[in-house]
């Protein structure tokens, strides 16, 4: 369960519609102008990192002008293992974003679970998976019922709730920066949430505190030939926080610009759904591999062969 934390093979992204500039939901001042050209540039860079630098298979979804926030694919789906929970986003205007995503994830042979309860709301941005457990922020977008359904969906893991006050999402100020390493903002709300998480967990987490809350949203991956990979804010955007990331010696650090989308509350993690699913069979055996590897050469070979057969 933990060994492959950060292991991803696929990424689902969605193009930004032009309507984003004017109609996307935002917690900041409405008069803030969003430069769609800049958004597109950031998007290209983002995809380029995932696809070319990291070698992930990127699934691109078409933009939908009716859904100004559709670029933020993290919120309509939570994927863990080979199960995808299609959420019920807290913002009514975003509910339909799930449709395209559901189709795309189903095409990846993920086990689809839909949140049909009308009383439940859940944004993926409120879901922090640490590799060992889930923390679900109870925010304006996510309620307890949504968290319960998530807990029912991923029964192997503990699901703890964390009150989120003052920010849009739980992951607006935190994210995983490594196995057992939580990147956390410096704000009072962020620190309080971290304490809550630490208290609720049976596991010990290290924390990486960055001066800027938004900078604490980064993307960690553990890729076979890359090792620890971290996509984080650029020095231009958050110079002080970038310095903190730059102190991580074991990580392959990739600054990714996100200045424009930040205006509409977009973070790095918001723009993709990461999936570890080379093939259905491999996923199911992932748990078993640990044990197999101990057995000896013969079995490990077998595993390899399996990989090859399924190889994507």
């Amino acid at each position: 369960m933990q060994a492959d934390f950060g292991r991803f093979t696929h990424a689902v992204i969605r193009a930004a519609p032009d309507s984003l500039a004017a109609q996307a939901l935002r917690s900041g001042p409405a008069e803030l102008q969003v430069d769609m050209e800049a958004v597109r540039r950031e998007e290209e860079q983002y995809v380029s990192v995932l696809e070319k630098t990291l070698g992930l298979r990127v699934v691109r979804l078409e933009a939908d002008e009716e859904l100004p926030d559709c670029v933020f694919v993290e919120d309509p789906a939570v994927v863990c293992g080979n199960t995808a929970l299609i959420t019920r986003p807290g913002a009514p205007s975003r509910r339909k974003e799930t449709e395209a995503l559901k189709t795309a994830l189903a095409n990846l042979d993920l086990n689809i679970v839909e949140m049909t309860d009308e009383s439940a709301t859940l944004d993926g941005g409120d879901v922090l998976f640490t590799g060992r457990e889930f923390f679900v922020g109870l925010s304006k977008r996510t309620n307890r019922r949504g968290a319960e359904i998530l807990a029912d969906t991923f029964q192997d893991y503990a699901v703890s709730t964390v009150p989120v006050l003052g920010t849009l999402h739980l992951k607006s100020f935190c994210s995983m920066a490594g196995p057992g390493l939580i990147a956390i903002g410096s704000s009072e709300a962020a620190q309080k949430a971290l304490k809550t998480m630490q208290q609720m967990s049976d596991h010990k987490y290290d924390k990486l505190t960055v001066p800027d809350d938004l900078a604490a949203n980064c993307i960690y991956m553990n890729l076979p030939d890359k090792g620890h990979v971290l996509l984080h804010c650029t020095p231009e955007q958050f110079p002080e926080s970038a310095k903190v990331f730059e102190k991580l010696k074991d990580h392959m650090l990739i600054p990714v610009p996100n200045d424009e989308k930040r205006k509409v509350d977009g973070c790095l993690t918001c723009c993709s759904v990461l999936i570890n699913k080379p093939s259905k069979l491999i996923l199911t055996t992932s748990l078993a591999q640990i044990s197999i590897s101990r057995e000896g050469l013969s079995t490990s070979t077998m595993t390899c062969s399996t990989h090859q057969q399924l190889g994507c």
Partner: protein
């Protein structure tokens, strides 16, 4: 007996020795005489029952037995008996004292004692078997108490002794021996520790305790050995045999014949023997109570008494799920854990995802069937396996698919993999209990290795790790945990949960205590931890901690035992057939096991066990030492039983005296306990009371320590006073009562971190509650203390009318320290300190008391006031007045055993004499007066505050009238104690001068 007791504590020691010798002789004689004697001794010790042998034997033997019992446990029985009658009315501390006194007399003058004992025995005989059983338990508990420090260690041992004669296996006896020896050493160590660590405490006490402990230990050792010799003989004797049916983890039934009065551990060991299981500390026997709730069989108690009217049907289960199963030493242990987990998974208790179901199922198949064989294994045969609560064809296909990938894996390896995946599940090893939060919302309490988890639906909404928990307690159907203040917080907070009923609350509490002890107290070097485990109630986890069992497991040196897997039974095919051998240990184990022969390694395991036991024991011993150092807090129980008699008695007495002071609450508690007795069990066990006290103490220990330090010294000097002795006696009685009271409604448990020695010490006292409380309470100035305390009167009127016990009035008069404790101030000069101490003592702030006790016995100020115990005859109204002055001369009223009367009204008044004199005597000028009324679930509190000017001093007097209404399950004592505690917390600068408890109780004969 009381008079005797009061007369001379010192004498006691010698008598004990003599008694010991006598015992030894007797034992020898008994040994020579195979059956009867042996039985008689053990039986006597373990159980007050009138065994035929006893009757046949001359009185002398009985006496001797009693004498013997003293060190181990028998003496308590007598005390208990007395307690039964009196205890109801008397406060716990008084009871304790009595018990001490009783013990002492026994030791000193066997003849005098004998009659009493005989009487008591007769009474007991008259009592129902259950009652007897309870008494036996009580005795056992007392015995450990006597051992004091040993208790913790010895406690089990002693129990083992008592039990062993009747039931235990030879192996056990061996263990016991080893333990005893260790104990002796440990005692010495403890003594040293005490002297060093508990300078504050009381050198004299330490010495006494140490010596006593040593003596006891020696005695115990002798006894144990003898018992061991005798035990086999004993086994066969006259006892009634009952057939227990134990459902094993593979679903098979294991019928086991046990003596009707056998303790839980006898059956458990029999089952483990049958299973050839050495790492048995992770397991336990469970049974369904009348409400169909699963309960754990307490190994230290009689089976019969625990299952009550239920059938002798048990299940062998994993009790403590090892967080890292790979650290288990033997494959057979892992196999059994796998079986348990398969049950948990298939029943839905351990929820997991589809993928995990499939994976676990595939390992199950690999372990049970070996390599995938397309010819033999078809889906339809797979359907025989239950992998998930709702098993689909898809799941079975997935299981088979995964099974194919496990080729070459031995059963043991498959088990390892199974466990590696199962242990990661979030609900692994989480024991869930339904509850409601303070707002009445349905939640689940999950007790696990790391602490307490709170779930709402499936969401974890809170978590309290063991280190964060200062205290665990329960009152009636409420379960409380006290949380250590966080970095930014100044005060501890208490979180309460509402359980469906009192039994459920107690069950959660017990599970918490056990889990905390087992998992949290990992450091073998600090046996104190185990002590910490001790609860307010007598209950404590008596087994080994995980650390200890791991250590013990390292000593396992036997060829891997052969065991059959369920599949082999089912399929009649040897799983091992697969290329298992090559794998490694596991395979070898199987093979080797076969060769050696089926398995009874009985001897080997036994040896191992003994060795194991030793190591753990040593640790335990150390703990006792700490306890002694701490202020005998931990030792309290042990002291009560063994030590009390002689050495420890003095020290204890001091402590107890203090405790008495403290224990206005206790008196309240006692009342409650009395109620409980009436209500719950025929025997009317006072035990409940103790629990309450304990709770109180625990909480404040830490805080109290500060003030204590100053006061303690003074107190020490005082402690020696005669008055102290008396209180001790009372305390003993109380203790005994408390010990009995497992049925208690309330109990507290203060988890202590193993590492914090200092804390531990404090905590220990707290835990031990009564003792610590008693001791510490004494203010620096004994005289002063004594005076005020003496004034304290306990009036108990018990009216039994309704099932619901109503503790009507608890009036606490809090006198400003300045005003009230004139005497104290004068002598001490340290008014603040004294006041603090006094407050602490009087009130539930046992913590301070404890601290004080450890640090300063000086606080002994109070002499236990409660002297008179009137047993309510049938429809009686009892007025019990306890005054310190009288305390020396205890008057015991014959206990009433027959609860014919339906209604009891009991009024107990506790007041500090000095305070009263000052406060009441001087008419002051009324400054202000106000009355506040507040209500909660079952209590109505009316606070009346008056401020008066007296001779230039302003006096603030607060009277609280607390009406507690509820059914029998309500812990009145706790409620009262809580009220007192709150009062003190609200007015830290005031002291409790008077407590009047008026109880109207309807006697209910029904058990809990």
């Amino acid at each position: 007996m009381t008079t005797e007791v009061g007369s001379e504590p010192e004498v006691k020691k010698e008598p004990e020795k003599s008694s010991e010798e006598a015992q030894a002789e007797q034992q020898q004689q008994l040994a020579e005489q195979p059956a009867e004697p042996s039985e008689s001794e053990p039986s006597a010790a373990a159980e007050p029952q009138p065994t035929p042998t006893d009757s046949t034997k001359p009185d002398n033997t009985d006496q001797q037995e009693n004498a013997e019992a003293e060190p181990s446990s028998p003496p308590p029985s007598s005390g208990q008996k007395k307690e039964k009658g009196i205890s109801r009315f008397l406060p716990p501390w008084l009871k304790r004292q009595k018990s001490h006194s009783q013990v002492e007399p026994k030791e000193s003058s066997s003849p005098t004692d004998t009659p009493n004992q005989t009487l008591t025995e007769k009474q007991e005989e008259e009592e129902k078997e259950e009652e007897e059983a309870e008494a036996a338990e009580e005795q056992v508990g007392k015995a450990p108490e006597e051992a004091e420090k040993r208790q913790e260690e010895a406690g089990p041992k002693e129990e083992g002794e008592a039990v062993s004669p009747v039931v235990e296996q030879p192996a056990e006896t061996k263990e016991v021996k080893a333990e005893v020896k260790e104990e002796v050493k440990a005692e010495e160590v403890q003594a040293e520790n005490n002297s060093v660590g508990s300078v504050e405490t009381q050198p004299a006490k330490e010495e006494k305790e140490g010596t006593s402990a040593e003596k006891k230990g020696e005695k115990g050792g002798e006894e144990v050995q003898e018992s061991s010799v005798l035990s086999p003989l004993k086994l066969g004797k006259k006892m009634k045999i009952v057939v227990c049916h134990v459902t094993l983890l593979d679903g098979t039934q294991f019928p086991c014949e046990v003596e009707k009065r056998a303790k839980g551990q006898y059956l458990f060991f029999k089952v483990c023997e049958h299973l050839n299981l050495l790492e048995k500390d992770y397991f336990g026997l469970s049974f369904k109570d009348n409400a169909d709730q699963r309960c754990w069989l307490d190994p230290t108690k009689e089976i019969k008494r625990q299952i009550r009217n239920s059938q002798w049907q048990f299940a062998f289960n994993v009790k403590f799920y090892p967080p890292d199963p790979s650290q288990l030493t033997e494959d057979i242990t892992r196999y059994l854990l796998c079986l348990q987990l398969r049950q948990d998974v298939s029943s839905g208790r351990l929820p997991c995802s589809f993928v995990t179901h499939a994976l676990l199922g595939s390992y199950t198949l690999q372990a049970e069937l070996g390599d995938y064989d397309p010819e033999e294994q078809r889906l339809d045969s797979i359907a025989d396996f239950q992998f998930a609560p709702s098993q689909t064809k898809e799941l079975e296909e997935k299981v088979v698919e995964l099974h194919k990938s496990h080729r070459g894996m031995t059963p043991a390896q498959a088990d390892v993999q199974f466990l590696e995946n199962a242990k990661k599940l979030s609900m692994y090893g989480v024991d869930l209990h339904h509850a409601k939060d303070s707002e009445g919302v349905d939640i689940m309490l999950g007790v696990c290795a790391n602490g307490l988890l709170i779930y709402k639906d499936r969401l974890r909404i809170n978590r309290f790790a063991w280190p964060k928990i200062l205290k665990i307690s329960y009152k009636r159907s409420n379960f409380y945990i006290k949380i250590r203040p966080g970095e930014a917080e100044q005060f501890e907070s208490t979180v309460g949960f509402k359980l469906p009923n009192h039994r459920a609350a107690k069950r959660v509490w017990k599970v918490c205590v056990e889990h905390h002890t087992f998992f949290r107290l990992t450091n073998p070097e600090q046996p104190t931890k185990s002590k910490f485990l001790t609860l307010g109630s007598k209950f404590r986890y008596s087994g080994r901690t995980q650390a200890q069992t791991r250590q013990a497991s390292t000593l396992i040196d036997r060829p891997a035992p052969y065991f059959e897997r369920t599949s082999s039974k089912r399929i009649s095919r040897s799983l091992d057939g697969a290329p298992v051998i090559s794998v490694s240990d596991h395979g070898h184990m199987l093979d080797s096991a076969r060769t050696p022969g089926s398995g009874e390694n009985g001897h080997d395991p036994a040896l191992e066990l003994s060795s194991d036991s030793k190591s753990p024991q040593v640790e335990e011993e150390a703990e006792p030492g700490k306890g002694a150092v701490a202020g005998a807090v931990p030792a309290e129980l042990p002291f009560e039983t063994g030590t009390d008699g002689a050495d420890s008695s003095e020290t204890k007495s001091k402590l107890r005296v203090q405790g008495e002071n403290i224990y206005v609450r206790h008196s309240n508690l006692m009342l409650e306990s009395a109620e409980d007795k009436l209500n719950s069990e025929i025997n009317g066990q006072p035990e409940v009371i103790e629990v309450v006290e304990e709770t109180v103490v625990i909480e404040e220990v830490v805080k109290a320590a500060k003030p204590k330090s100053s006061a303690p010294e003074v107190s020490v000097t005082v402690a020696s006073s005669a008055t102290e002795e008396v209180p001790e006696v009372k305390e003993e009685e109380e203790k005994s009562a408390s010990s009995d009271s497992e049925s208690e409604e309330e109990a507290e448990f203060h988890p202590q971190s193993p590492s914090d020695s200092a804390h531990h010490i404090q905590e220990e006292p707290e835990e031990e509650q009564e003792q610590s409380q008693k001791a510490p309470p004494t203010n620096a100035e004994p005289q002063q203390d004594a005076e005020p305390e003496t004034t304290d009167k306990v009036e108990a009127v018990v009216n039994q009318q309704k099932e619901e016990d109503e503790k009507t009035p608890g009036e606490e008069t809090v006198v400003a320290p300045e005003d009230a404790p004139n005497g104290h101030h004068v002598q001490d000069g340290e008014e603040a300190l004294t006041s603090l101490g006094a407050v602490a003592e009087e009130e539930e702030e046992l913590e301070p008391c404890v601290v004080n006790g450890d640090a300063s016995h000086a606080e002994t100020e109070r002499v236990p006031q409660v002297i008179c115990c009137s047993e309510p005859p049938v429809v009686k109204t009892e007025m019990v007045t306890i005054s310190d002055t009288f305390a020396a001369q205890k008057t015991e009223i014959a206990t009433k055993e027959v609860p014919i009367v339906h209604t009891e009204t009991k009024t107990i008044t506790y007041e500090a004499a000095q305070l009263d004199g000052t406060g009441d005597g001087e008419p002051g000028v009324l400054m202000t007066a106000q009355t506040i009324t507040s209500e909660s679930l079952c209590t109505t509190t009316t606070t009346h505050i008056t401020k008066t000017l007296k001779g230039g001093l302003s006096e603030t007097r607060i009277e609280k009238r607390i009406v507690i209404t509820g059914d029998s399950d309500i812990d009145h004592d706790q409620a009262l104690a809580q009220a007192i505690k709150e009062a003190k917390e609200q007015h830290p600068d005031m002291s409790v001068t008077r407590v009047v408890v008026h109880k109207e109780t309807e006697l209910a004969e029904d058990d809990d």
